[in-house]
């Protein structure tokens, strides 16, 4: 199959990791300010061991977290027209792309992969905020569409891990059109009866939130992730008032009915696995040892 780009195995990944991030590095948690041993943070998939803050996770780490034994095949993406607008602001768009590519080692903001999650075959597409804010342009749109096509081909579930500031503005109107375009992909999954699960991570806003990220069969958010249409700064400027604490955070969206659950990163894989198996009418995963969430206590009737 020509969509297989490369097979990623954990060992190979570790070699790369050692080269560019020395083990003795300390990192400061952006939430509690505690210095955390880099190696501990990597082992915890960027969840702060001190305060449980979910730090942004690079796409390779996300894939490693989700796929069994960290093994998956990346989906190759046909190239798209680059810089159709010949765009430059303070910097040329082509230079920004070059920088983002060398910084992340990725072609664009979305990486698609296929593999097994708790034994079920799934396709996962991950949007990486480190690549130009995870912005949705033609490259990212193509990667998602291609990933959906692989899911259609394999008749398996599609999981979208979203993280994005919105449209890739340097591609102008063509980036806006990716919202409609990816929605066509979502409809094809729906027509084929295949599950579409969205994992909303920090931050997901703008055109991504206003299209496929809100069209999943199930929406799972990571704790405290900033999720919304307009950014909080724009809203504050428009309405000239301070926004309440926790506004547009994952828990706020749960309360307002926009997501199904807020799930800790360490419970994400088992949650997705359980959902995929239920939706695909597959039996329980043989090795599953997860616990069902405790049932909420029924409130007393008022009388």
């Amino acid at each position: 199959m020509n969509w297989i780009n490369s097979v990623v195995r954990p060992k190979i990944q570790n070699v790369f990791k050692k080269r560019d991030t020395p083990d003795n590095l300390w990192r400061k948690c952006g939430s509690c300010g505690e210095m955390v041993f880099h190696r501990d943070l990597v082992a915890a998939f960027n969840v702060c061991p001190n305060c449980d803050h979910h730090i942004k996770l690079p796409s390779d780490e996300r894939l490693k977290l989700l796929f069994d034994r960290g093994e998956y095949e990346t989906i190759s993406v046909p190239s798209v027209p680059s810089d159709p607008l010949k765009f430059r602001d303070q910097k040329k768009y082509t230079d920004r792309l070059k920088d983002a590519r060398s910084k992340t080692g990725k072609e664009d903001a979305v990486t698609g992969a296929v593999g097994r999650l708790d034994g079920s075959e799934v396709v996962v597409a991950v949007q990486d905020f480190a690549f130009m804010g995870g912005s949705l342009g033609m490259g990212a749109g193509e990667a998602i569409v291609k990933s959906i096509e692989v899911a259609l081909d394999k008749k398996c579930a599609f999981i979208m891990v979203a993280a994005s500031g919105g449209a890739r503005m340097q591609e102008g109107i063509l980036s806006l059109m990716q919202m409609s375009r990816v929605t066509v992909g979502v409809q094809r999954l729906r027509d084929a009866g295949l599950p579409f699960l969205v994992v909303l991570t920090d931050p997901t806003t703008g055109g991504v939130m206003a299209s496929y990220a809100m069209l999943g069969d199930v929406h799972i958010a990571e704790p405290k992730a900033l999720l919304g249409f307009s950014g909080p700064r724009v809203i504050e400027q428009t309405i000239r008032e301070k926004l309440p604490e926790g506004f547009q955070r994952a828990e706020y969206l749960l309360e307002h009915g926009m997501v199904d659950m807020v799930v800790h990163r360490h419970k994400l894989k088992e949650t997705l696995g359980r959902l995929v198996r239920l939706m695909m009418h597959q039996p329980k995963a043989p090795q599953s040892d997860y616990q069902l969430p405790a049932a909420p206590t029924a409130p007393q009737a008022a009388g």
Partner: protein
Amino acid sequence: MHTYLEFEKPIAELEGKVQELKLLAQEDPTAGISDDVAKLEAKAAQLLKDMYANLDTWQKTQVARHPNRPHFLDYAKALIEDFTPLAGDRNFGEDEAIVGGLGRFRGRSVVIMGHEKGNDVETRMKHNFGMAQPEGYRKAVRLMEMADRFSMPVITLIDTAGAFPGREGEERGQAEAIARSIDTCLSVQVPFVSLVIGEGGSGGALAIATASRVLMLEHSIYTVASPEASASILWRNSDKAKDAAAAMKVTAQSLLELGVIDRILPEPVGGAHRERAQMMADAGDAIEHELRDLSGLDGASLRRQRQEKFMAMGRGDLS
């Protein structure tokens, strides 16, 4: 009373002079200045024509936002018989930033809707300057689904700076409402024509403009983010809106080149606001033409064609 834009100053001066001379000629028909009036009028007309044939992106942006430009309700009045606006999203409220309902367009029943910006302080407030809340998009979904049930074509007129960025809108799921509206545009099995009549602002426009055919008026714009927002995000300086508009290629002409729209509808010389009746009649003809073109297709083909049209955007070569 005509509102002149900043760059129209030379025209304002000439036309002002013509008016003065005309008054003078009326007061004193013996003065023999009617030849001068005619000459000056011709000069003003030529200047207007030349100017509007060469508008830059920022000038077009201003024309697209011209307060005297026909708005949704003007088009509805001019083109739709028995126009019956319908209200509410059946969930939370009514949002008059998007107006829509049933009507008769050139003999056939249609669902027509669009953003309404309003024309004075009162109506602008009433319609929230054409910036919709989730309820506006949920009403749009409701109307599109109704069109689908009753096999009526959908006509949408686009004219918004964008969806409203507010606290309540976020609480009630602005993003989800827009997403669902795009989704519905791509689902309905009826002919669907959109016309950008002024400003097509970002997701708030796309939400009801993911159509079988998308047309733009000659001096309208369609953007991923308003030039002002783009300037403050990319240039970190909202005064750079002019540069942002040019760099983002927001004109109808650029969008046609990029393959995002199907056709440009010429405006009368001097813009839609100068010959409003003419503009609206031309728009009616163009919409009728597209609807007739789509009328031979069955529902499933209409949906498939719309899906394929958007699936192709960004694939293949553009440059």
